[in-house]
C-alpha cells in the first residue's frame, strides 16, 4: 500500500513517514500543498494523509483540486477541532478526519479502514481457501499455521487479496508497493511472488502472462 503524506511540519512529517513505513506502507512525502497536489495527481495512492494548514496551498484547496480528477481516499489531519471544520473537511471530499494531537494507533486503524473501504472490503479477515489474512494484525495463516512473511511480501499479498478476482499489472503493483525513492530492480517483484508461492502454495497467486498477477476468488 502506498500512502502520500502532505504535512508542512518537518518533524511531524518525518515521524509520520517513519511510523507508517514501519507498518509496511510505501510512503511518499510532500512538505507543502503544491508538491502534495502534484504527487497526488501524478500517482495512484492507496490513501493520502493531508494536513490542513500548509503554506502555498492549504489542505482544503489541495483536496478540492484533487477531487476534480481522483477518488483517492483522503484522511485530513488538522489542528482545528471545531465541528464546523470537520464538516467542511468531510463535505469538501475528505474520507476521514483526525485532529492533532492524535494517537498513532488510531491513525493506523483509520488508514487501514480507508484502504479497505476503497477496495470495497468491509471485513478485516480475508479467507481465501486455506489462507486467512488478518488485516489489522498484518498476519497470514495457512491452515491455522502462522506464515512468516516479510513486510514487502505481506504488502503484496494484502494488495492482491483486497483486489482479488482482478488481474493486477506489474506496473500497478510497483506503484503501490514501492515509494518514490525506491529504485528497485524490476525482477524483485518476481522474487517476492515466488517467495510467497513457496510459503502459501503455488496456486495462491496466478500469473497472467503479459497482464500481471491475480488471486482468484
Amino acid at each position: 500500500m502506498r500512502v502520500l503524506i502532505v504535512e508542512d511540519e518537518p518533524d511531524l512529517l518525518r515521524a509520520l513517514a517513519r511510523a507508517l513505513r514501519e507498518e509496511g506502507y510505501a510512503i511518499d512525502t510532500a512538505a507543502d500543498g503544491e508538491d502534495g497536489l502534484h504527487k497526488a495527481v501524478t500517482w495512484n495512492y492507496d490513501a493520502i494523509v493531508l494536513d490542513v494548514m500548509m503554506p502555498r496551498l492549504d489542505g482544503w484547496t489541495v483536496l478540492a483540486l484533487l477531487r476534480e480528477t481522483k477518488k483517492t481516499p483522503v484522511l485530513m489531519l488538522t489542528a482545528r477541532d471545531r465541528p464546523s471544520d470537520r464538516v467542511r473537511g468531510l463535505d469538501t471530499g475528505a474520507d476521514d478526519y483526525l485532529v492533532k494531537p492524535f494517537d498513532l494507533d488510531e491513525l493506523l486503524a483509520r488508514l487501514r479502514a480507508l484502504i479497505r473501504r476503497a477496495a470495497n472490503e468491509s471485513r478485516t479477515r480475508l479467507e481465501i481457501g486455506e489462507i486467512v489474512i488478518d488485516l489489522p494484525a498484518r498476519l497470514v495463516r495457512r491452515a491455522g499455521e502462522l506464515v512468516p512473511l516479510t513486510a514487502r511480501e505481506y504488502a503484496l499479498v494484502e494488495y492482491l487479496a483486497l483486489h482479488r478476482g482482478e488481474v493486477v499489472s506489474r506496473t500497478t503493483l510497483y506503484e503501490h508497493l514501492f515509494d518514490e525513492n525506491d529504485d528497485t530492480l524490476s525482477n524483485l517483484l518476481d522474487v517476492h511472488v515466488s517467495n510467497i508461492r513457496r510459503k502459501l502454495g503455488h496456486e495462491f497467486i496466478t500469473t497472467r502472462r503479459g497482464h500481471g498477477y491475480a488471486i482468484e476468488t
Binding site: P10, P55, A79, D103
Partner: protein, 521 residues
C-alpha cells in the same frame, strides 16, 4: 437544600423590593402627596369654618345691636319712676357700648368710655337703676328672631343683677348672663353673642349651630374622602409613572443580565437614544461590544495557542509511540528522543512567549525607565542573530548613529532580536538585512528592512496580531509561532513608543520602532 433556602430567598426578595428604585420613588411621592393633601384639606376646612362662623357672627352682631336698641332704659316704670329725673330718649348713657369684659357687678360701675358728659344713671337703693329698663319688641326684632326661620335665632335680655328681662321662647334656660369669656362664644351647639350695656344690662343673641357644625363635619368628611381619592389616584398614577420611568432601566438590566450570563452578542435596544437612559444604553452597548471583541480575541488567542501546541505534542506522541512499538537499536532511540527534545523545546519557547504576552497584557511586567545606549543594544542584537544569518547566507548591515533611549534595555533588545530574526526569516539566501538607527528631537528611530518580497497588502492590518503569519501557515523550521511581532508591539507600547510595519519603496518589508529619547522625559 432548596427548602431551607426558600424563606431566605423570599425575605431577600422583599428586602430587594423595598430597596427598589420604584418603591423608593413611590414612597417619596406618597409622602409628599400626603403632606400636600393634608395641608390642603385642613386649610380648606379651616377657611370654610371661619367663613361660616364669621357669617353667623355677623348675623348675631346685627341682632345684638337690634336687641340693644330695643332696650329702653327710660321706659314705663314698673316701679315708682322718678319724675325729676327724666331721661331723654336716646341718651348717650343708654347707647349700647361693646365691651369685651362684663363689668364687675359687685364693683363700681365701669368708667364711662365716652367723654361726653352725662348724668349718671339714677340709682335706687341697693344699686338698682332708678328706672327699670323696658324691652320693646319692635317688628324688626320679631322678624330677626322669627322662630319659624330655617335656623332660628334666640335672645335673652338680663337686667343688671341677672334678672331676665326678656327672652325668646326658643332661648335656652340661662339663669345668668355670661360672666366672662369673649363674645361671640360657643356654648355647646349654640353660638352666642352678648353685649353689656353701660347700664350693666346684658343682651344676648344666640343661634343653635348644630346643623352648621354638622354641615362642617360633612365638609370635613368630604374633604377627607377627596384627599384620600386624590392620594389613591396619585399613588396609582405615580406607580404607573415610576414604572414607565423605570421600565427602560429594567430592560437595560435584563439585557445586561443576559449578556452577563454569556450571550455577549446581545445588545440593549437603543430606540430611545436621546434620553439619558438611551445614552446609558449606548454606552453600555459600546462596552459590551468591546467586551465581546476582547473575549473573541481572547478565545482566538487561546485556540491559536492550543493549535500551536498540538503540532509538537503530535510529534512527541508519534515519536514515542513509534519508538516503543518494538525493540530498537540505540541510534533509533536517540533519534526519537532528539525529535522529542526539539518538539519540547518548541513548546517551551511557545509557552514562554505566551507567558510573556500574558504578563505584558496584565501590566505586571514593569518596564524600567532608565537611559541606555540603544546603539549598543542594537549591535548586541545583531551579534546575537549573526549565526542565524550566516547559516542562511544573509548579510547584516548596520548603520547605527549614537542614540540614547529611555526605557528597559533588556526588553528593547528583545524587540530588536525579534525584528532581526523576522527579517532574516523573510530574506532569501544572499539577501541583505539592513538596520538603521537614528535619533532626532522626537526620540529615537530603529528601522529593520529585509530583502524579501515585502508584505502582501491584505496582511498589513494584521501584522501585529497574535499568531498572525504572513503565509497563513507555520514557518516551521524556526519554530516561530507568530508571536514575535505581537510581543514586540506590547513591549514598545509599554514604553510609550510606536511600532510600524510596511513595505519599503525599493522592495522588502521594513519595520520601524520609535521610542522616546533620553531627553524627552
Amino acid at each position: 437544600m432548596a427548602t431551607p433556602l426558600k424563606p431566605d430567598g423570599a425575605r431577600g426578595g422583599r428586602a430587594v423590593f423595598f430597596r427598589s428604585l420604584r418603591w423608593r420613588l413611590q414612597a417619596w411621592y406618597a409622602a409628599i402627596l400626603v403632606v400636600l393633601v393634608t395641608v390642603f384639606g385642613f386649610t380648606a376646612f379651616a377657611l370654610e369654618r371661619s367663613r361660616q362662623l364669621r357669617q353667623i357672627d355677623g348675623e348675631l352682631q346685627a341682632r345684638v345691636s337690634l336687641l340693644a336698641s330695643g332696650l329702653r332704659p327710660g321706659g314705663p316704670p314698673s316701679g315708682p319712676r322718678p319724675a325729676d329725673r327724666p331721661q331723654p330718649p336716646g341718651d348717650a348713657a343708654s347707647e349700647p357700648r361693646w365691651r369685651d369684659v362684663p363689668p364687675d357687678r359687685t364693683g363700681p360701675p365701669p368708667p364711662r368710655l365716652r367723654d361726653e358728659p352725662g348724668p349718671p344713671p339714677p340709682r335706687g337703693p341697693g344699686g338698682r337703676p332708678a328706672g327699670r329698663p323696658e324691652f320693646v319688641l319692635r317688628p324688626e326684632l320679631v322678624a330677626a328672631f322669627d322662630p319659624n326661620a330655617p335656623s332660628p335665632f334666640y335672645y335673652l335680655v338680663w337686667l343688671r343683677g341677672a334678672e331676665v328681662l326678656a327672652r325668646s321662647q326658643n332661648a335656652p334656660d340661662l339663669p345668668r348672663p355670661p360672666v366672662e369669656g369673649r363674645s361671640p362664644r360657643q356654648r355647646g351647639d349654640e353660638r352666642e353673642m352678648f353685649l353689656y350695656l353701660a347700664t350693666g344690662d346684658c343682651v344676648l343673641a344666640g343661634r343653635a349651630v348644630g346643623p352648621d357644625l354638622a354641615e362642617l363635619d360633612r365638609l370635613a368628611w368630604w374633604l377627607f374622602a377627596l384627599g384620600a381619592g386624590v392620594l389613591g389616584a396619585g399613588l396609582v398614577g405615580g406607580w404607573w409613572i415610576a414604572g414607565r420611568a423605570i421600565r427602560p432601566i429594567e430592560e437595560i438590566s435584563a439585557a445586561a443580565a443576559r449578556i452577563a450570563t454569556g450571550d455577549l452578542s446581545r445588545r440593549i435596544d437603543t430606540a430611545d437614544a436621546e434620553s439619558e437612559l438611551g445614552r446609558l444604553a449606548q454606552v453600555l452597548n459600546a462596552t459590551f461590544s468591546r467586551l465581546e471583541a476582547s473575549f473573541a480575541q481572547q478565545g482566538r488567542f487561546t485556540a491559536d495557542a492550543a493549535h500551536e501546541l498540538r503540532t509538537p505534542v503530535s510529534v512527541i506522541l508519534m515519536q514515542a509511540q513509534t519508538a516503543l512499538s518494538r525493540e530498537r537499536d540505540p541510534a533509533d532511540y536517540r533519534e526519537a528522543l532528539e525529535s522529542c527534545r526539539q518538539a519540547a523545546q518548541r513548546m517551551r519557547r511557545l509557552i514562554e512567549s505566551l507567558l510573556d504576552l500574558a504578563r505584558l497584557d496584565a501590566g505586571e511586567e514593569r518596564m524600567r525607565r532608565e537611559r541606555f545606549d540603544l546603539a549598543r543594544v542594537v549591535h548586541e542584537a545583531v551579534d546575537l542573530v549573526r549565526p542565524l544569518a550566516a547559516e542562511r547566507g544573509i548579510i547584516l548591515r548596520v548603520e547605527a548613529g549614537a542614540a540614547e533611549a529611555l526605557g528597559d534595555a533588556e526588553r528593547i533588545a528583545q524587540v530588536a532580536v525579534n525584528l532581526l530574526t523576522n527579517a532574516i526569516q523573510h530574506t532569501p539566501s544572499g539577501g541583505e538585512v539592513r538596520t538603521q538607527l537614528s535619533s532626532d528631537r522626537d526620540g529615537v528611530r530603529l528601522a529593520v528592512a529585509d530583502g524579501g518580497e515585502g508584505i502582501p497588502l491584505e496582511h498589513l492590518p494584521h501584522l501585529f496580531e497574535r499568531f498572525h503569519r504572513g503565509d497563513a501557515a507555520r514557518t516551521t523550521a524556526e519554530g516561530h509561532a507568530g508571536l514575535g511581532l505581537a510581543i514586540s508591539k506590547a513591549i514598545v507600547d509599554a514604553h510609550g513608543g510606536v511600532i510600524m510595519g510596511g513595505n519599503a519603496v525599493e522592495g522588502g518589508a521594513v519595520f520601524t520602532v520609535r521610542l522616546p529619547g533620553a531627553t524627552a522625559s
